[in-house]
Structure formats: C-alpha cells, structure tokens
C-alpha cells in the first residue's frame, strides 16, 4: 500500500484515506506513544495527524512516502505538546502485566527506568532513537522527518544510545 495514488489522495478520495488511516493508525500510535509517553496524548496526536494530513493533502507532493509525511506531522504535533507540558516522570500503570510478583516488580522497575531514560533525552534525540531503533527507519528518511542532515540524524542516534547506556547499563535484564 506504500505505493498510494497521490492524485487520488490529493483529490480527497475517502476510501483511500480510510485505507491510509487503517494501515498506519496503529503504527503511528506506537511511534507517538514512545515519544510523548502518554496513551491519551498519543491517541489524540494520531487523530490530529490524520486530520491535518487530510486538510493539507494538497500540499503532499509525494517526494517522501506518505508514512514519512505522516511521521513528520506527528513529530511536529508531539513537539508542540511536549513544549506545553511540564516534564513528568511516572510509570504508566497500563504497562503492568500478568507476571508473577517478582517478575512483575522487575518488569515494572525496568519499564520505569526506560521511561525515565527516554524522557531525559532531548526531543530530537528521542525521536531519532524511536524511529531508528523501533521503526528501523533509514537515516535518510529520519533526516527528512526532522529536516536535518543525514549525519546529524546518525549523531543524534548515537548520542541517544550512549546516554541511555549510561542510565540503563547497570540494569540486569530480567529472566524470561
């Protein structure tokens, strides 16, 4: 589906737009959640991303893939949200699972530490890290999303990993 009919999209074809929403909705949600670290905010940003994409569809030239374009919109919305929001570090209670108590405590500890480490990253580093590490996005595409040079994207990713390594390097991975 990556090969979408740009002309049809620009004309506002509702069926095509529905396909795009269904195809990328969840993927975008996961990405945005990793950046904003809040489920409600992530859902809201995803909805708003699609709204803006539809409203501004005529501005989509098809130079990048539609997904990259959507990520760019979502990234901008995330920036706005994070700038407005006071920094908070808390564990999302929805992350708990049905492990045994010992494993659960360990999982929660790891989850908490990851959230803390990710939240301490500057937003650009956080975004690059998410796109690269979890989405396996090439640096070239990341540079399109962030409007920066490819080398900068790479450096940001390396900084992010190094910082998180300092924060998380002392954790021992729980037993499966």
């Amino acid at each position: 589906m990556e090969k979408i009919d740009i002309q049809k999209f620009r004309e506002g074809d509702e069926n095509l737009f529905r396909e795009i929403v269904n195809l990328y909705g969840e993927r975008l949600y996961i990405l945005v959640f990793r950046i904003v670290r809040d489920m409600d905010d992530a859902e809201d940003i995803v909805q708003e991303t699609f709204v803006r994409a539809f409203v501004k569809r005529k501005g989509f030239r098809g130079d990048a893939s539609i997904y990259t374009w959507l990520v760019r919109i979502a990234y901008n919305l995330s920036i706005n949200l994070i700038r407005k929001r006071k920094p908070t570090v808390e564990l999302d209670p929805r992350l708990s699972s049905g492990d045994n108590p010992e494993q659960k405590i360990e999982r929660e500890e790891i989850a908490k530490r990851i959230v803390e480490a990710v939240k301490e990253l500057p937003l650009k580093q956080r975004t690059v890290f998410t796109l690269r590490f979890y989405e396996d996005m090439p640096y070239k595409k990341i540079s399109t999303v962030l409007r920066c040079k490819e080398g900068t994207a790479k450096a940001l990713y390396h900084f992010a990993i190094e910082k998180m390594s300092k924060k998380l390097g002392d954790l021992r991975k729980y037993k499966e």
Binding site: E14, F33, F133, H158, E162, L168
Partner: protein, 189 residues
Amino acid sequence: MNCKIFSNRLMDFVEGLLPHSEEVEMKEHIKYCKACRLKFEKIEKTLMILKEDRVPQLSEAKKQALFPMVMERIEKRIIIRRKRKWVYGLSFGFTLLLVFVISVIGIQNQKRADLYTIFFNPERFVYENDTLVNNYLLESIIEDDTLITIVKAAVNEEWVENSEMAVLIDELSEDEINQLVEELRNIDF
C-alpha cells in the same frame, strides 16, 4: 586498532554498518581490550533492555473507531472554517463600511473643527464694527491660529455656551467663516 578508533566506530559496529574488514578489526580489538569490550557489552545490554519497552496496545474498538473519529474531527474543522470565513468576510465588510462612514463624517467635520476657537468677553472689549458678528460683544482668542474648539458668547452680560454664535458659525459658508476669523484676528486689543 587503538581504543580511540574503536570508540569512533562503536555505534556503526553495533548497528552492523561497518564494512566487513573493519568489523573483523573491531571483533579482534574487543578480544584483548577489556575496557572496550565492557563498553560494547554495556551498549548491547542497553539495547536488549530497550527492546523490552512496551507500549500499551490500542484496543480493537479504538482501532475501529479511529477513522470515524478522524472524519468527525475533519467535518468539525470544515464547519469551523466555513464559519470563520463568514465571520472574517462580515467583519471585513463591516470594517470597510465603518471606515467609510468615519471618513465621510471626518471630512464633513473637518471644516468646522478648524473654526470653533472663539471666545467672547463683553467686559473687556466692545466690538462695534458692522460685520458678520453683528451686535455681539467679543473678545476673541484664536488658538493655534485656526483650531477653534470653544464657542462662548455673552448675551445680556451672561456667559452662554453654544450660543447663537455657534449657530451663526454653523450657518456660515466657508468664505464667510474665513472672513470672520480674519476680522477676529485683526481686532486690536
């Protein structure tokens, strides 16, 4: 390979982006350099831990509701935009009308605003010439040459504001007013 080169290439090594020959050199280096090996292991462990970062899943209901919710937002946005267009259009039209009315009133008042600067003081001066001022007793002060703001006249030795003098001025033509102002200017106190 020394430790500095190892550090510089470490992230590319971790990401598997190095050419084969350099990758072999890196692997060789960590065999005998404990500090670099620990550094590499720490990053590897961090990446393993980060893979455990879980995201709360969207429920099936939410996934299904996404498109309708997006469309609902879009429709609301379109309605708001239409309303805004109307409001902006009406505001613009009203502003234009207001500017036009104010300009017309301003132009009409311009002539008079330049003229009402006349004081009458019957106790100090008697103006006897047979002019447009006729039988009024006058002392005139013309402020800023032409800016006339206050009209007072004395009728039967009492100060009266907005007197017949104002009415008189209202009724005069521009030439007549100019003549009056000139006469007032030339009064010898």
